[in-house]
Amino acid sequence: MSTGKLFLRGVADMRRHPLPQLCTLLTVCMVAFLAGAGLLLLHNVQQEVLRSQGQARFQIYWSASANMTGVEQQWADLKRVPGVAEVSTFTPRAALAELMRGLGAAMPTTVGNATDSAPVGADDFAWLEGENPLPPTALVSFDIPPGESPEPWMGRMYARLRGMEGVDKVTYNAAQLSLATGWIALIQRSALPAMGFFALVVGLVVGNTLKLMMLARRDEVEILSLVGARPWFIRAPLFANGVVQGFAGGALSLLCLKVLQSWLRGLLDVPPLFLKVEFLPAWECAALVLATTFVAGLAALLAARR
């Protein structure tokens, strides 16, 4: 009998022991779900850190005497630089308006001895209109290219921006980014041992559960051995059984994770948290199902060997 037929036989034989099969499936699903929940947590913490602090931001100040036509051309060029996530630009007039709005919201005015919170009017800065001291500025956010270390990359980008014609000063968020990078590195470093631990737990739980399930098929194995079946004839259907259990359990755990993610998104994406809980990326979903399938198949093979 070919290996393919033995596999099909193993799958067909699963219906003969529905209760042990169902219990094993639930166990595999629950353990894979726990592993997936850990992945979901790590993924979302990383995304949240990246979202809040993971971008390189450069504030570029041109000299006040710079030619605005040239500056606007440079702004257009900046938007085409690879990795640019966002560009906010301010002409001197827009910067002044922004400043007035900012001051108006923050600065109380004093009338006599009384203090009230009335905003500063635009007229208070009207005398600056003719000789606005503010320069053109731009706030440019970049996604650090994958594989690049943030600090050297930011140093190179700083040099490039600083070298643009008419640019007087460039500042950037090196400390913030270093902090975010540190957090992400910590998460990534802890992810590997955590996943290793989960894989071990999945292996042990699934392996032992499958071994218990094999007890239900002990007579069958004994009889097959008595009538002269070769080891692969006995093990292949049991291996197929484990693989199917692992795949089905892994896929089912993804469904459960989707339900969990939807519930958490509704729970956490509200004021003041606004935490957006994302689902696992496709490759992590595939890895979870494949890992569960592999571990279950291996466990079944080992259980059948004994």
């Binding site: 003969r16 009889i223 051995s225 008595l226 009538v227 002269g228 080891p231």
Partner: protein, 240 residues
Amino acid sequence: MVHLDHVTCILGGAQALTDVSLHVERGEFVFLTGPSGAGKTTLLRVLYGDLKPKRGAAVVAGVDLMRLRHSGLPELRRKVAVVFQDFKVLPERTVFENIAIALEVRGVSRTSIDRRVRAVIRALDLEERSYAPCSVLSGGEQQRVAIARSMVVNPELILADEPTGNLDADLSRHLIELFKQFNTYGTTVIMATHNREVLSWAPEARQVHLVRGQLSLPQAEVVDAIIDASPRSGTDGGRA
């Protein structure tokens, strides 16, 4: 077919078989007798490769048991079929499936499996139960399924460990007739039993008597609580 020379076997730290020498020729029918705990089942386990002897020489169906590795076990089991007292059939599978399994493991084609299984089912009068799960069969029917499974592969040697132990007298006699019938076709049969009545149904069969793990020769006249009182026609205690 079976050549055991001074075989000693240890089981659970104790000697289960001591210096057993037994030679069975092709086509013989041999009864292995002795009280419970005498070592009949242990001897059969040695013969189908489930226990490895500690000392001595053992060759069954051309397979040297002393050199037999686990990977060589299927080869031995394809020549030697075993029937047990507790039937060892798969209750959730049908009669047909239980018998066919012995041919499937040998890679026999589907057409041939169908033909051979149907022939054996007909010979053992199980036609009406062909597609019934074994769990609904009586003890006698289940034992017939087990015998059919061992016979369908035309083994060189059939080992039967108290095959009538759970059956009434009529059924037991019927099964012994089946074994005798197969024996006339040339299959060697070694059957362990402590039932005197069974021995009387096949008086032409050689009897080998085991007591406390040792073959008991006729002149030794070892007292056996169960068999001793019975007439021991044809007993020669095995040839050393």
